[in-house]
Subunit: 175 residues, 2 copies
């Protein structure tokens, strides 16, 4: 595998499992199987590596979220959580750990949240037909965000609860 790709994947795993600050560069180089010199040649700095990790995750996530109905949104989330484990939104976690003070990271996070909201709006639109669905979109977004957060301690139950709630809200909006 490409050095940089492998490095970013390893960093994503460690950041997600142990936290950003708690993951030292020594641990990272060791687990990625490369020297610190090579690491810095490829990514420049730890902050840049964090941004790269989030960027890669964003692309992977958006690929998966390309669905047609509100119901499927929560299917995708269930699969994601089963595959990758539910330790909370890595974007919000990076934002929290840095206090939102590092523009390089804050930008990626806020852009990702904008994109997620836009994608949900698009799905709601497709599901409900033409009309203003701003309120429903915000509700689905909150359910999605809540399912991610609550899954940390409630597991899959949180996700199926969100899914059922979303179905009720969609039905209600249709009538």
């Amino acid at each position: 595998m490409d050095i940089k790709t492998n490095l970013i994947a390893t960093a994503e795993r460690l950041f997600d499992r142990n936290g950003f600050s708690a993951t030292g560069m020594d641990r990272l180089t060791q687990e990625a199987g490369l020297s610190s010199r090579t690491l810095y040649k490829h990514v420049g700095s730890k902050t840049a590596l964090m941004a790269l990790v989030l960027g890669a995750r964003e692309r992977r996530f958006m690929e998966r979220l390309d669905v047609q109905s509100v119901d499927e949104i929560f299917d995708v989330l269930g699969q994601w959580t089963r595959d990758e484990g539910g330790r909370g939104c890595l974007f919000l976690r990076s934002y929290g750990e840095t206090g939102g003070d590092i523009p390089e990271i804050a930008n990626v996070v806020l852009t990702h949240k904008d994109a997620t909201r836009a994608k949900i709006a698009e799905i709601v639109q497709r599901d409900l037909g033409a009309g203003d669905h701003g309120e429903l979109t915000e509700q689905i977004l909150v359910l999605f965000e809540g399912a991610v957060a609550a899954a940390v301690y409630r597991g899959m139950d949180a996700i199926s609860a969100a899914r059922k709630a979303a179905a009720i809200l969609v039905a209600q909006a249709r009538s």
Copy 2:
């Protein structure tokens, strides 16, 4: 004010604004206006201080959450966010930063989440009358958690969306 109380309040502010790892003990002693020797005499270690901060927040939060209806839950959350700012759930953030690996902290976090869920169950019960409302409770919990998380980037809109969604789910469960 009592030294320890003031220290914990200062630590809560700094941890919340800048993150746990990113907040050094020097910064803390400086802002709390005491020597590091006094700090360590009173709280023992940074980890213990984190647990104390979370414990204090838990008591303050549970006091506020002592309401009678589902609707009021989101009123409380709105006030909390207006008063203290919405930077995400400090419990989940502490859990994420430490990878859930520090028992002293993981315990406080999971206990808090259990208590929150129990409190919501109690409110739902009072609101809906006797019967099994496990499903609705999980849905309200997810909406609550989602409102907290989404408020980081959507502000109060996330909270009022959660409130409206909860009202619909409650009405649906009543019929």
